[in-house]
Assembly symmetry: C2
């Protein structure tokens, strides 16, 4: 493309930034555990079958990046639990989107292993994405990426 209107995105891009931070199988799975209500190291470790050193380093990163708070829940000896911060909770749509795609394409003939009940209405949530402005369902083909306020050609590459 001679004059690529999206040239800026190669240097600064929020998909890339997020993936660089979190693109590790275990990081996604630790966050999934947290969304399912698991807060304790031992329980995460058992559920995931992950090495303790790996879990420990990923949790440390997630605390340092502000997705989890590490809080004492028992004294003598002090035990800690990991609670999602707002920043961590805001990652929930990523887990939802991954789960929805997996349910559709990888779950096999018997169907979704887990369904999500929406407490507000009592029905299965089956999440859909809508436009924050017109509230119509969003489809990839209807969306045009454009340079945003943080786009800077100077920082390309």
């Amino acid at each position: 493309m001679p004059d690529d209107p999206l040239a800026h995105r190669h240097g600064r891009d929020s998909v890339k930034a997020t993936v660089d931070l979190l693109a590790d199988r275990w990081t996604f799975l630790i966050l999934r555990e947290a969304f399912f209500g698991v807060r304790r190291f031992g329980e995460m470790q058992r559920n995931l079958g992950v090495a303790r050193t790996v879990l420990s380093s990923r949790l440390k990163m997630l605390v340092a990046e502000g997705l989890f708070d590490r809080r004492p829940y028992r004294s003598d000896p002090v035990w800690f639990e990991y609670r999602l911060t707002d920043k961590g909770l805001d990652f929930y749509p990523v887990a939802l989107a991954l789960m929805q795609w997996g349910d559709r394409y990888l779950a096999g003939p018997s169907g979704a292993p887990t369904i999500l009940r929406h407490r507000a209405c009592g029905h299965h949530a089956e999440p859909i994405w809508v436009c924050g402005h017109c509230h119509l369902a969003l489809h990839a083909r209807d969306i045009q990426p454009e340079p945003g306020p943080g786009a800077s050609r100077d920082e390309t590459r």
Copy 2:
């Protein structure tokens, strides 16, 4: 938990299945390129700065898994392009969710590097997740995971 109602999920889980398939930094970024309209090997390679061998193996996997179609677009010599299938297009919400989180937490003071215009209404899309049943916005705290039709305790661990 003595009787964990979600014991089944440790064996079969769509987040885990999806992450196992795609949890590779490059795979996410190749899909992002495709959502931005890039179809050709050379352009992907330039945009991502990825080694040709790595790009080639990831594209082969994505074709084998049915997310891309590889189609000739020029003959003599035959050149190919990679076009998203429906299965590939359906991965778009994952990219949206990653981008939205990154815009919020990693983009820096100047704001989002890329914005998404919704062609249907002409405004910025700012996607929101809603419940497919009641159409209220979904929040992590309002969602209760339950065993689905594909849950099978027999296959746990």
